[in-house]
Symmetry: C2
Subunit: 792 residues, 2 copies
């Protein structure tokens, strides 16, 4: 198959010369961005004051990225390809920004950086300069959906972009440094989840640049045989382009890249022709070129081109050292700018003609500004999925199950722009109703899969045991204008902490760019939570993802802890309509008490926080104590404590507050969902004790609410990192979030109970002891705990 | 090379029969653990009450793990191997616990679980039962250094264990589910970093079990050709053992595993014979066996053995359903327990004889209880590395450089049990002096590496662009009794959040086990911090790793933010002596003001927090305002603000407090390093305003200090997620952590300055404006900012 399209011939020398000229223009710009603050076209001899005071940027991978870009342009024009470009080594932004500027998109969006000498000067000056152009492929970069600041996610982003975009070619430069990361190393397997008819194509361009900041790269140092085996083992057909002499490289690249494009076409034509869907062996390209290609070969006797020394700024001290200045000038002039730009400083027309036009430019392709293509999600009627809850706390149900049927209908109503993602736990998370609408995507089936495997080549539920891959796929899918939903195990949400951070940062910046249309929010359901890990134990108990989430921009992050199934429905329904956010939803999958019917749930979730009158005994007056809860299990235990308090102290005025939207707790000056102090005080009083039972680490509540007037009386319980293979009640008791501990807390904090409550406290301790004994004997909680209902 | 040792013959049928009997005993125990609370040897017919009320545990991978274990035992005995076993799918703990019990170690450490019927009953009952044996290979599991609760790290742990243990064989079962994770996918490349003479061997046993919880696995479904190419491409020589008929499988496994062991021996002998060191092609084994092997083939017409249905409990509802009970009994009796155990309920002597003896048992090998082998680290004299600081704030230096020479001497003094780890940034982090003692470990060199590559096959600095791999290596290295130091980029420390969590949990539990000797702490230097990302921008600005770190056990976690080079030395010197902790040290690599000479630094760091008299003007009286800082840049700006305050308000009494040990801020009831309230009050006063400039997200300080008496007056500045490619001062101004903002904060909070300070506030705002303009013009901060020194 390596010899497919054996008759492919290289473009003419004349065409290759033009390609090379375009590439030289890119390289000139990339170097100019790093060095020049003036004299951008070298129309006068280079003087120290033309050079920036501080030299920043990454030269090393820039020429290689521009090389890929220019050759992709040739084929976009030749075959009218619909293509976008992701730069894994996003720190080589100069190599991307250069062609983006040359094809005009940059000037269209940033009019001061026009296509003339003055604009070019501003373009150069503002690169990696305060208030200017970032040194990675930031959201401000036209055509970028992948910043490449943190390495490892380019390939999974590329797959996400390709899903459900049958005509899209997603070219993705994978750096050989990035390729050492875990997320990238497993992302190669994405080809098992790409449908040859329904989805687009991903064309990885592995850049064997040879070096990282200070080290060789692993993939560049193993033998070509091993590398070929590795990429073949990952399921790809690699084509190698290797060398450093530009014209020979242009010739080889033109043929190899065209062969990739034609193979992709052939694969898709064959697949469209029908027959059983099988996984094709997709082509990919390996570009082996020297790091810092075309840059200074040596500096002070040290090799630079082809070495780690070319990683950032290959020539330093230029303003101070005349010899270095001369070397810089010679390097810049080696690209012959006078032959590339016209009098006005614009790329010469015969070169401009090489770039694609309009939206075929990768920098202007609407898929890379996905909000422009986004269609509003069609949402089913919530009512059809609501759980019947005749009275609060009267029934038990698996909280996530109704969400499963709801998502099933979302899948049905949006058959080409909505997908569900999860590691391996959609069924375990009780969302398996969705398989009635869409199976798990799996290309090659075996007969035994018919027995409940829920697998299908046209499946739309994406499951692979890599949270990194799933998060990357979903991000790529959303950034290209679609919608999605990811559910994952609470403790292991930390696996994607860093991806969450990076996506939140992307969204915050992107939302501030007028030309970027809003994209759908990333909806993340965190389930299999800390409080129900009775067989997995301590390693699976970690509610700390929320502690990471709260650090990011309040414009982007929302956190919801619905207490029951209808609230989970209401919250999800809302989240699926939002844009430019990350919505974190925490809800356990197991059987829990249900409290609110749908109407009440919708009202409660819209408020985000509220008094549950039916659980309160303050009857609109000032309570003696506020019992508050946030999270499903936390709410159950707090309710049980409230019931115990009312049983033992019938005249005690208890107010029960439930929090769904975590950010209501923080001042509204800090977060758009924050309550005003007045509203907060009206719920939590100004001076009464608050017993707050929280799903997560208790300190998080203090972090959010420390400025509130009644904070001195806020007593928070939550997970305190105590646990093992415990029954639910045992685990709660270890962390003092159980009903009995909460009753004791209340007695300790309500002055008039301090003395008269002593015997009740003792009773609570006795009950804790008895229940611990029961658990140790039976391995389960006593029925009165496991089946507890809200009384009456 | 596949045909090395072609004459290898399988053991006799008699020996294989004994092996099979041992394996049947393991499988019987694994199933018994999941199901039985009584009648452990089936000496009477199985009745419902013999079965646990709640069935928990993972059967699916257990028989395969036991199969590996038993065959490894054969070769340990035959060749007197020094071997340990890591179970990647640690949730298949029954398959490990069973042979550990059978070889006696379990009973030696937990005397109530003796090797007789009563002990076996307790062993069964306590599995996955409250207060009992965890369902993963937890720290309580003899021989385990890898819990396998969170998947992905087995292989990097294995490499870490093998480093500097030339005679150790680290057998590691890699699950095919786990193999889909990113960290595992890149961990295969560890073979490029394993020295064939100096290090031990890693023998991966990839378990193609076929299924995860509900899905097929990727590696089990690709063709054998692709899988072979993949593993070959990773640099391994795979040997396949495939089938399900036990005796045929025993025969194949015995030969294949012995071939692996002999190939490893041959590799090591050849390497020891001298000559240039090259990377060998290490053998590995692929075991393709049915999931839930030997368990129920079908349940209710659904395939169970060889299917995802075998993942956890293959037969449920056993107590209620007589047919199921009968099926369970038939299954358990299929192992013929009466032939395996003697009258007392102990494994028959002819089977016991198959296991290794004493410390050759993998469950009793001291490498898996590494503290037993740990030698105290030899530490050089700090004084020789101290920076001369004639007066506070009088000099500037790169804070991490002296640490580099210190670590160089640690490497020299401990040439076989200390390593340094880092992604690619040891030089960038100014630690490059360490290369004078030890190069970066790289097996195959090229001529150009001689020019500053700092690479050598016997290098002890481990660099690869995967934080997961590095963290995994270091954990494996520490858990087997050695010492290490990892430095990483602050923003990307989040990549290993989840590994940090899991290691912290391991240490907390392990520290409570009397038979586990303490291991060296994991020392993590976080550098390239948020405040100096003037060219990398927003994606590289994230101090939130600390927000994750604080959630874990106060017995385990320590966080230090040394303000200068000598404090960094003092803190590191201390950390390297500690055990069973994770020490997080935050210090930027760039040039910073230096404040304390070594003696002062050692005293200050021992206290963890203190008043800097030389920067204070309260002269032992009650101050008007407390200016506090934690972190290097935060300290510099707070000092500059203090200087400005003293300049503008000469009679203002300012107290300057510096915090090195973050946990001093929290009550001593919460953390062993916490200050008492009395000490806290004596530093921070009971009622004076505190302006606290923090390195990280400001809310973290409130989370730690919210219980303090003077918390209402605590005003914290820190990183507020505002940034781009900014000069240092610009970035600080955006987040209001700059000197001018802090002066304004103080004026606003000291009542007597509210009015008289108005003009100073205006002056500060003017200075901010002017400095912003300067940065926009020059791309750098004005010299009076960049070169600011503490006055006088």
């Amino acid at each position: 198959m390596q010899n497919t399209f054996p008759d492919l011939i290289a473009p003419s020398d004349a065409e290759l010369e033009r390609l090379d000229a375009y590439w030289r223009a890119c390289n000139y710009l990339a170097a100019g961005m790093i060095y020049l603050r003036d004299n951008p076209l070298l129309r006068e001899p280079l003087r120290p004051e033309h050079v920036k005071e501080r030299l920043l940027g990454h030269w090393g991978s820039s020429p290689g990225l521009a090389f890929m870009y220019v050759h992709l342009n040739r084929l976009i024009v030749k075959y009218d390809l619909n293509a976008i470009f992701l730069a894994g080594p996003g720190h080589g932004a100069p190599g991307v920004l250069a062609p983006v500027y040359l094809e005009g998109t940059y000037s269209e969006l940033y009019s001061d950086r026009s296509q003339d000498e003055a604009g070019l000067r501003r373009f150069f000056r503002s690169f990696s300069f305060p208030g200017g152009i970032g040194s990675h492929c930031t959201p401000e970069t036209p055509g970028s959906i992948h910043e490449g600041g943190e390495l490892g996610y380019s390939l999974s982003h590329a797959f996400g972009a390709a899903f459900d975009n049958p005509d899209l070619l997603v070219a993705v430069a994978v750096g050989d440094g990035e390729a050492e990361t875990g997320p990238l190393a497993t992302a190669w397997h994405g080809n098992k989840f790409l449908h040859p008819v329904r989805d687009g194509a991903v064309l990885p361009l592995l850049h064997l640049n040879g070096y990282k900041i200070n080290n060789p790269t692993v993939l560049a140092r193993i033998s070509r045989e091993e590398l070929t085996a590795l990429l073949t083992g990952y399921g790809w057909m690699p084509h190698f382009v290797e060398g450093e002499e530009p014209m020979a490289m242009h010739r080889a690249m033109a043929v190899a890249l065209e062969r990739c494009v034609l193979q992709i076409r052939a694969i898709k034509e064959q697949a469209r022709a029908g027959g059983a869907v099988a996984r094709p062996r997709w082509p990919m390209l390996v570009l082996c070129s020297p790091k810092g290609w075309t840059g200074p070969k040596q500096v002070d006797g040290h090799r630079v081109e082809g070495s780690w020394r070319a990683h950032q700024v290959p020539l330093t001290g230029v303003r101070e050292n005349p010899a270095r200045l001369a070397q810089l000038e010679a390097w810049l002039r080696s690209y012959r700018p006078e032959a590339l730009f016209d009098e006005q400083g614009r790329l010469r027309p015969e070169l401009e003609a090489l770039a694609p036009r309009g939206e075929r430019r990768m920098s202007a392709n609407p898929h890379a500004n996905g909000g422009r293509l986004r269609r509003v999600l069609r949402l089913p009627n919530l009512r059809e999925h609501a759980l019947t809850v005749p009275r609060p706390g009267g029934v038990r149900a698996e909280t996530t199950r109704p969400l499963g049927t709801f998502l099933r209908e979302v899948l049905r109503a949006n058959p080409d722009n909505f997908r569900v993602f999860g590691p391996d736990e959609t069924t375990s998370n009780r969302l398996d109703a969705i398989y009635e609408a869409a199976k798990k995507m799996w290309l090659e089936l075996r007969p035994e899969d018919a027995d409940g495997g829920e697998l299908a080549p046209d499946g739309r539920v994406m499951e692979v045991l890599s949270e990194h891959t799933l998060e990357g796929w979903l991000e790529g899918y959303l950034l290209t204008g679609r919608h999605g939903f990811l559910s994952t195990y609470e403790a292991f949400a930390h696996v994607i902490d860093s991806m969450f951070n990076q996506h939140a940062k992307w969204l915050e910046i992107a939302a501030g760019l007028p030309w970027r249309a809003p994209v759908s929010s990333l909806n993340l359901l965190i389930t299999s939570t800390v409080w129900r890990q009775d067989h997995n134990g301590f390693t699976h108990q970690d509610p700390g993802f929320l502690d990471v989430a709260v650090t990011k921009s309040p414009q982007v992050v929302r956190i919801y802890l619905p207490p029951d199934a209808n609230c989970l429905l209401a919250v999800t329904h809302h989240c699926l309509k939002t844009t430019n956010r990350i919505n974190v939803i925490v809800a356990d999958k197991q059987s829990h008490l249900q409290y609110l019917d749908l109407d009440a749930a919708v009202r409660h979730c819209a408020q985000g926080i509220g008094i549950w009158e039916w659980a309160s005994s303050d009857a609109g007056t000032e309570p003696d104590v506020v019992m508050a809860a946030c999270g499903d299990v936390a709410t159950q235990e707090a309710l049980a404590a409230t019931a115990l308090l009312r049983e033992h102290f019938p005249d005690l005025r208890v107010r029960f507050v439930n929090v769904v939207d975590l950010f209501t707790l923080t001042p509204h000056t800090e977060h758009p969902h924050g309550l005003s102090d007045r509203d907060f005080d009206s719920l939590f009083t100004q001076d009464k004790p608050i017993i707050f039972n929280f799903h997560g680490y208790p300190w998080l509540i203090h972090r959010l609410a420390y400025r509130r007037r009644n904070h001195p009386n806020l007593h928070v319980r939550g997970y305190k990192e105590k646990g093992s293979i415990n029954t639910p009640l045992e685990l709660a008791m270890l962390n003092e979030t159980d009903r009995f501990s909460l009753v004791i807390d209340a007695i300790d904090r309500v002055p008039r109970l301090n003395v008269i409550g002593a015997h009740v406290k003792q009773r609570m301790r006795d009950l804790q002891f008895l229940h611990r004994q029961y658990a140790l004997e039976h391995g389960v909680d006593a029925p009165e705990i496991a089946d507890w209902h809200w009384p009456g």
